[in-house]
Symmetry: C2
Subunit: 333 residues, 2 copies
């Protein structure tokens, strides 16, 4: 029997279609394979192939844009938005536009071509999270920006253009709609109940247990109640916190540990799937401290159905989250 | 220079990224090829391979579920929702669910395996549109349903499971979010201006001309101002009308003519792309007569980027709509 479920934050309904229920073996799993590439612009020794670095973690005595680093952040060579210029907002009759002011940066997560977040080890992953935080702290001083999207496309099937492990930051002069919807939903819940909806979800699901995957002292990984995609997984801090960049260091260490664990479980059970990873955090200049709660969403790319879903906002998910959570819970990466 | 544009109906911002501007030759065009299939359940003579027909257009003297038809509508053999049962809405602490009551039907658009909406001719396409209308009129008598999604996935790249030309209807006990967003935006525009936002768009773009593709007496085809996808195309009735199913017959004839024309133009310029076609119409039991305006959206599947967009609701489109409209306007299918 199929079931309609409502996401308690955004109010979005999804169909969990058990009629079409997919066992793991039914997915056409597309494994990510990393191909060696002597011309990879992100490998150590190829620093001249990227724009100049904005930030790096380097060994003593090494120089910017030379070898000797563990992590580099550089501007995207093909940015969707550019930092230079004045934000110019204009109307055109019915229509509204602004010029493409923003920032688009690339976090090169390792000097080695074959590393991934699943294999890099806890302290290296923590360094990546720290680089996200430091770049957000720097970019948010620019008052033109309203939101910074932090995301990772892993594998060509999920939109990556290179095999070398990297993430991206895009600073925007607007708040994207998905964030706006989450903010609106979380604000309404708080107005009605004086509680954070994400804290409520953590409390109810910790008691229930069926959608829990793994946890440690500071972080919990779970399948959401109304996921749009099979094996969609959220990682949330247990302590209420609206802004990713305000997270204390020990919580980043806990996140790095749990993130690596979850990615290894996915690699094992779903055979190294391509995935998208997104950090959901509150907009830069809006008070959200009471009601928003930052979190990480990981979406392995397992289904091909796409067009209909993005066009209608109406998602059919062939795997119940309780089933996905059980598979990931029982697996050890 | 990139540009941010706001959709005047939903308020969604998109980036038109001309930095990454794609000429037609840059797209990895994936042409749809129809493979002959002796076991196709939708071909004439194979009526026993589908569930029993709900509606058909047949020649005199032929019998239901036998040969002699031009069009058949049958229940989907693998429905995402089922018609049997009572709608049962339930809460579970924080969470809301209902059982999967609904209807899922397939419109087999032609008895011939190789026909497509682009090749079928005007009266056959009009018959398809008429079947949509008749099925909606029938399904809307069921008070459990709030919305009927009418859509077509053409080609495997757009989610089609069979090569034989077909469309789908899904009757839902809820209103999908994309429809809700359009309704909210159109209602707010009407409240502020006492005018339909879609009528305003048609008026402004008819004057402007840069996003117009083609038109006839009753219908106009255009690139929307803030499209999420390259070559996204809308067809709207010029006369204000909230509900697709209330459209008079001569307007369906005009739509059939323009739809075939647009699909042939896309086939010519984009080399037979997979596409999704959606009919956006007002919900079944909500007064929307003044402010909503039904329309058709056609989205050729040209870009592979997917995960990031559906996950954030934040779209980067490499082709400006003025450029797409010019290409399609100058082409003759």
């Amino acid at each position: 029997m199929s079931e309609l479920r409502k996401d308690p934050v955004t109010g979005r309904w999804v169909i969990i279609s058990t009629e079409r229920s997919k066992r793991l073996s039914d997915f056409q799993l597309e494994s990510v394979a990393i191909t060696p590439d002597d011309g990879c612009p992100f490998c150590e020794g190829h620093e001249q192939m990227t724009p100049r670095e904005l930030l790096s973690r380097r060994r003593d005595g090494t120089h910017a844009d030379g070898p000797g680093w563990d992590l580099r952040v550089v501007p995207n060579q093909f940015p969707v938005l550019r930092v230079e210029g004045t934000l110019d907002r204009r109307g055109e009759g019915l229509f509204d536009r602004m010029n493409g002011i923003g920032a688009h940066e690339v976090v090169i997560e390792s000097p080695r071509h074959v590393d991934t977040l699943a294999t890099m080890g806890e302290s290296a992953v923590e360094q990546v999270l720290g680089a996200f935080r430091d770049r957000v702290q720097d970019l948010k001083r620019d008052r033109r920006f309203r939101y910074i999207v932090i995301f990772k496309n892993y594998g060509k099937g999920a939109g990556a253009s290179l095999d070398h492990s990297y993430s991206q930051l895009i600073a925007l002069p607007i708040v994207p709609r998905e964030v706006r919807d989450e903010m609106d939903g979380a604000r309404a819940h708080y107005a009605a109940k004086e509680r954070c909806v994400f804290c409520d979800i953590i409390a109810q699901d910790s008691q229930d247990g069926r959608r829990l995957i793994a946890e440690n002292a500071d972080m919990v990984a779970m399948s959401p109640y109304a996921p749009r995609f099979p094996f969609e997984t959220w990682i949330l801090p247990k302590r209420h916190q609206a802004l990713f960049e305000d997270t204390p260091r020990h919580e980043f260490a806990s996140l790095a540990r749990l993130l690596g664990d979850i990615l290894r479980r996915m690699n094992k059970t779903l055979r190294h799937p391509p995935y998208n990873l997104l950090i959901h955090t509150a907009p830069l200049a809006e008070p959200a401290g009471d009601f928003y709660h930052w979190h990480v969403e990981i979406i392995p790319k397992l289904t091909k159905v796409a067009g209909f879903e993005w066009a209608t906002g109406f998602y059919v998910n062939p795997t119940a989250p309780e089933e996905a959570a059980e598979v990931l819970r029982d697996s050890r990466g």
